[in-house]
Amino acid sequence: MRKPDPTTRIAITGAGIICSIGRNKDEVWASIAESRAGIAELKAFPGETFPTDIAAEAVAELPISRREAKRLSRTDLLAIIAAKEALEQANGAPTERAIVSTGTSTGGLLEGEEYYFGRMTRGRRRAPASRVLQQPTSAPSDAVARVFNLGGGVISNATACASAGAAIGMAADFLRAGHADVALAGGSDALCRLTYSGFNVLQAVDPEPCSPFGAARKGITLGEGAGYLVLERWDDAVARGATILAELRGYGASCDAHHPTAPIEDGRGAEAAMRDALRESGVTTVDYVNAHGTGTLLNDSAETKAIIAAVGNGVPVSSSKSYFGHTLGASGAVEAVVTVLALQHQIAPPTLRLETAADDCPLDYIPHIPRPMAMEDVLSNTFGFGGSNVSLAFRRVQGL
């Protein structure tokens, strides 16, 4: 079997994003630059009564014909929007052998719920089966591959909120091993009732817009969105004259092996993932960390300990979730795109609404406004249920 070649560099030649603060990179970056969050009253499920009532909903416009879209879930559509932007930017990438590696936690569960409700009220013979066919978590990868005619293979990663980070990191290793020539790697997740209710019953949702690392933080804000990166082997990208946005230097992964939903308090699993990403990247410290930063008491405390242990207490850190909430299985990809944009612009996104940092969060979290700063090497963290941790290391490309 071919081993991944550690000397093979991975170029990012395309990026696409949709979330509550924008339908593409330009809109997202404009929102970030203006410190404009996309958190508002929940509109998705009228008539339902939840303990909290805000969310970060994406404004999705159909990227394909209404007829085609009828067979697709909202998660599929979000994926297609972000994938389209990424592939268009990577114009000319040889997509015949492109794999699609998508992280998603819920897939088409939103549509599956309609079927469940139909079964409860109308019985299994009359419920709308067409909706439940959109539910599988394999569907977003399949839908993207079908719409863009990508023939390299499909991999759907359903590792809860760590899904997209793993989907990106493992896709890079597939390129290094020669299993594919191009990877469209990212994630997508739409809001659904089960997750909105579920995080509420876990008492993990802040009734106000989330305040990661803040003294008054009470939990997450639920969001939705999608992000994709186009990955190519560096030499291939250079040979075809592609514009390289940034370099994916390292991927670190670990498991807390501690609890089904809660992170281990000392952050040792997150630290291990960051250390692995740094080791692969060949650096010992970084200029910025795009944190998982959910806004829960446990995550922000544990992640802060992990960052201090892995890269020290001088590194600026921020949580993009303060803008667009927790996009769950997509978060690793949405935030990877934000991290790449930060490198390109040499501006670190801030943590919004951070009035007073918590006592257990003693780092520089870049409060309120974006910070222009020199960044060469950065990390983007993503953690999920089951204690699965992923850290991705990115490097700026000179001369952009």
């Binding site: 499909v154 089960l194 699965s388």
Partner: protein, 394 residues
């Protein structure tokens, strides 16, 4: 290390708990498909499935922990326990976990939404929500044995476990971990059964034939639903390896719709060639094929054309295991486990359900010198993942 040893196999399968029972079941050449009694199939076209029976989770899992696990997690943890015991050693704490599941915890989501409707969105049970994520089984496995390497769950329908194996193998070869648990879990439940029946995907009696799993048989008219948990120990343990993972290939059939197989057999050929090439082998080295065939009209036709195109007149013996334990049985892990046992025992298994067809599909279990076996998985939606498993490490 360019090949990866498989030193432990743990199986909770229809009709077999443990690798020795599974071995005996494969050798017997009989099917585990039977009439469904677990749930009501009245009014449906199909009435048979390959269900796990006699599995007592308490024999494997502490009752206090078991209460926090859904059926998939119980299958996964029990299979992992058997696999770890089978490998004859203790695992490095940095072991990775890669689990495949075709549809994940559908039943848990259904139960959560029933509670949601009955009690309200604010009062549904948090425990059900925690188990509604597809990676709950992999998480419980990591917690149970303190495994702190990567932990991923892959959901690619029929190719789920094979894709998980390919990802895990890549991480092992990279040196990210020294060992990994590779496995799959899937549960046959009333909702999945009735939906598959409704769209005409399940095998059924139609006047001409009775209801049965008939991979590659020209009388086939659908799949038979199966369920299982199966875990393999890769790269660790002290037992003599059952066999070695030696190559992988992946493609996608661009003619496939999102929920069916396509007609692009050349893409399946490309994946098979890629796996053989990755193993450093040629066509002549392949002694047998453990096929993806599951009785579906399009899927089996696609694989048959691909095998005919790749091997021409010299198609090696083909084993279709899904006539034994159905489809979605541990996300494809049972098929991979069967191929490894074939290498270990140096005998090919029978393909119950196959009677009429053009491929050289095995009709009975027989001794055979096996060096390398090609294992195919073709998923509805177009994904193709193939592997080569070998008897020797080099």
């Amino acid at each position: 290390m360019t090949r990866i040893p498989i030193t432990g196999i743990g199986v909770i399968a229809p009709g077999a708990t443990g690798v020795e029972a599974f071995r005996a079941q494969l050798a017997s050449g009989t099917t585990a498909v039977a009439t469904v009694e677990r749930f009501d199939t009245a009014g449906l076209s199909a009435h048979k499935a390959a269900l796990v029976t006699g599995f007592k989770p308490r024999d494997f899992i502490n009752p206090m922990k078991m209460r926090r696990m859904n059926a998939l997690s119980r299958l996964g943890v029990a299979a992992a326990k058997l696999a770890i015991e089978d490998c004859g050693g203790t695992l490095d704490p940095a072991t990775g976990v890669a689990i495949g599941t075709a549809f994940g915890p559908v039943q848990t989501s259904v139960e959560y939404m029933q509670e949601y409707v009955a009690k309200g969105a604010a009062l549904a049970p948090p425990q059900l929500f925690a188990e509604s994520v597809a990676n709950a089984p992999g998480s419980h496995i990591a917690i149970e044995w303190g495994l702190r390497g990567f932990n991923i769950t892959i959901t690619q329908r029929e190719s789920s476990t094979m894709a998980a194996a390919m990802l895990a193998a890549t991480q092992l070869l990279k040196g990210a971990v020294s060992s990994a648990l590779i496995g799959g879990v899937d549960e046959a439940n009333e909702m999945l059964f009735s939906v598959l029946d409704r769209i005409g995907a399940l095998a059924h009696a139609n006047g001409a034939v009775d209801e049965a799993a008939r991979p590659f048989d020209r009388r086939r008219n659908g799949i038979v639903l199966g369920e299982a948990g199966a875990v393999l120990v890769a790269g660790g343990g002290t037992r003599k390896p059952y066999g070695w993972l030696s190559g992988f290939g992946m493609t996608r059939d661009t003619t496939a719709s999102i929920s069916d197989w396509g007609s692009g057999h050349d893409t399946v050929v490309t994946a098979m060639r890629a796996a053989i090439d990755d193993a450093g082998l040629t066509l002549a080295d392949i002694d047998a094929v453990y096929a993806s065939a599951n009785g579906s009209l399009r899927g089996d036709a696609l694989e048959q054309r691909a095998l005919e195109s790749l091997f021409g007149e010299r198609i090696p013996p083909v084993v279709a295991t899904k006539g034994i334990f159905g489809e979605y049985a541990a996300g494809g892990a049972l098929q991979l486990a069967a191929a490894l046992l074939a290498l270990d025992e140096q005998r090919l298994h029978a393909s119950p359900g196959f009677e009429e067809g053009d491929l050289p599909v095995t009709r009975e279990t027989r001794e055979m010198a096996l060096r390398h076996v090609l294992v195919n998985t073709l998923s509805a939606g177009g994904g193709v993942v193939c592997a080569v498993v070998s008897r020797e490490g080099e």
